[in-house]
Symmetry: C2
Subunit: 331 residues, 2 copies
DNA sequence: TTGTAAGCGTTATCAA
DNA sequence: TTGATAACGCTTACAA
């Protein structure tokens, strides 16, 4: 009953043609305020809602944007993803768009391909970027508008990212300014571009201070607890001022390992993280971290994609919305 | 080029009418194997894909199903949600359906309402059920087909759930069989129906053994670390054989608190969880837990919803796909 | 300012 | 077994 009313019904009821109704609704073309108002009232009263599918067909649009969710996302990635999703939703739903999810594997883009080929979306957002990214590669050759969240070496892509380089550099600089010179860096999955960026940020701070980090204290590709534990052993043996972890997962592994070994933070080891989380904020001791607003990032990506869909050829953007939060773990 | 080919193009190229082509593709109505084959080959060669929007308009369908993602999902819920999503995707994409996400708050169902009223979905899956669930309430009165994952006291809803009652009861029974009589139960958010179900499962096992749990050892509504810590103090004072936590989050909080206080598991306190996770499997000690296949759950929900959309009026289902995994923490 | 009519790409109902 | 032709609900030239 409520869902079945169409633009024809309105036209008939109000004694005007359906194109008039259409214009009154969309506001396109000249139309008298009087009829606009009549239509508005009728719509209000009978709770008319346009049929998105029919609108889509008429305009060759779907009003859906595809968001790619990697099937191998782990628990910590999911929180990031969920926030991006919220941001995307914030930015696109007011414009009548919705999120169509595409679950894909690293090298299996079939699901994404379906979405694109069957005209189910007007554009796509990639929520992470990999080196040698199959999804980005496919989208590029498909002609479908898309943007990526995160940075890619491929400069043809429209990228939306936090300024991780500046952010990581800034946290490192702050630590250097506190007099800590000997810092170790613990990084994860090397196929993620952000891992590399974070390392560069770390090194940049040293460079800007006229110093050089100790290459022996940079540990990359650490992805599991045993490996992290081993690095911790090494770091404790060598002796460092601060151990900087690239994300909360690594930080968590280090912290739990420290507890087991009765290593006191910050007395025996100072700790900082390039990615904040409520866990790090509430743990004891609370951990110094870089706080980044992923929701805003998602919103920016959504807006940018809508621009692309509208035909603009925007540049990517780098958002500066991080803050360094100093906590007990580096005091 | 590849994306622009329509059913008309095929008809013209093959010298037949577009209705013939349509039939050849869908297989509906009588049609000669010869023409079917010709069409099939052409489609293959030129990689024709039907326009989902046009199909949708013609059939009054969208080939999208809405999946509701609560905006207040926390990190642990997200893993569950992500797995459900995979299962849903597994079951619906082979049938041409895709997932449209709706991010909604507890009491704010606007986004869901939009999806329904604008005809953007053919059905909806609710991935959690609350007492007094606004989303379920709205969907019911909207007439939109939907199913819920998890159990609800509202028996009119089509519910897909694991047999949590049996599962929790079974884990508890196993512990009772090991001779542990004095068990404490630690439960979380009381507005989630599953919390209540788990408690009942716990009690059921006692009942079946002709015993009764100690009401003083049942702690409900524990949602943060301080509260969990306080319960731990209480439990240690009273002395118990096993502390059973309802989910991995609570279990994690207890474990980290035990580390801080140097309480050894299982020597000083045995621990079990009604929800498994890789964290519990890999921690030291590994924790006894109930393992549940959420992906299969999502798949079942997807299938069930498609039945409803197809016009069936199926019963809800209870899936028995859990297993009790005994680990070091209860030895 | 408004109405007419031709799409948008399919499916579905008739005849042929 | 096939082919016209009318939907599906909306947008958009082009006329009036």
């Amino acid at each position: 009953m409520s869902g079945k009313i169409t633009i024809d019904d309105i036209a008939e009821a109000l004694g005007m043609s359906k194109s008039t109704v259409s214009r009154a609704i969309s506001g396109k073309g000249r139309i008298s305020p009087a009829t606009t108002e009549r239509v508005r009232q009728y719509i209000e009263k009978y709770n008319y809602k346009p049929n998105a599918v029919a609108q889509g067909l008429a305009q060759s649009k779907t009003y859906n944007i595809g968001v790619v969710c990697p099937i191998d996302y782990e628990i910590f990635d999911l929180r990031y993803f969920h926030r991006c999703l919220q941001g995307i939703s914030d930015s696109i739903t007011p414009r009548g768009y919705d999120i169509l999810m595409s679950m894909i594997g690293r090298s299996d883009v079939d699901n994404l391909r379906r979405l694109v080929e069957n005209h189910k979306v007007d554009g796509v957002i990639l929520t992470r970027t990999l080196f040698d990214d199959k999804a980005a590669e496919y989208l590029k050759q498909s002609g479908m508008p898309f943007v990526v969240i995160g940075s890619s070496p491929d400069k043809e892509l429209i990228q939306i990212d936090n300024d991780h380089l500046a952010a990581c550099s800034e946290l490192t600089s702050v630590l250097l300014a506190k007099g800590y010179r000997r810092m170790a860096l613990l990084g994860g999955d090397g196929t993620h571009i952000i891992t590399e960026t974070r390392r560069r940020g770390f090194e940049l701070a040293y460079k800007q201070a006229g110093l050089k980090p100790d290459a022996d204290l940079i540990y990359m590709g650490v992805e599991d607890h045993p490996h992290a534990a081993q690095v911790l052993t090494d770091v404790m043996k060598k002796g460092v001022d601060v151990l900087v972890c690239m994300d909360e997962k690594l930080t968590g592994m280090v912290m739990s390992e420290c507890r087991i070994r009765h290593i006191r933070i910050p007395e025996q080891l100072r700790l900082a993280s390039f990615y904040n989380s409520s866990f790090l904020a509430n743990s004891s001791p609370a951990v110094t971290a870089l706080d980044i607003d992923d929701r805003r990032l998602g919103a920016a990506a959504g807006e940018k994609l809508l621009e692309v869909i509208a035909g603009a050829q925007p540049e990517g953007v780098v958002i500066r919305n991080y803050q360094v939060i100093l906590r007990e773990s580096t005091s």
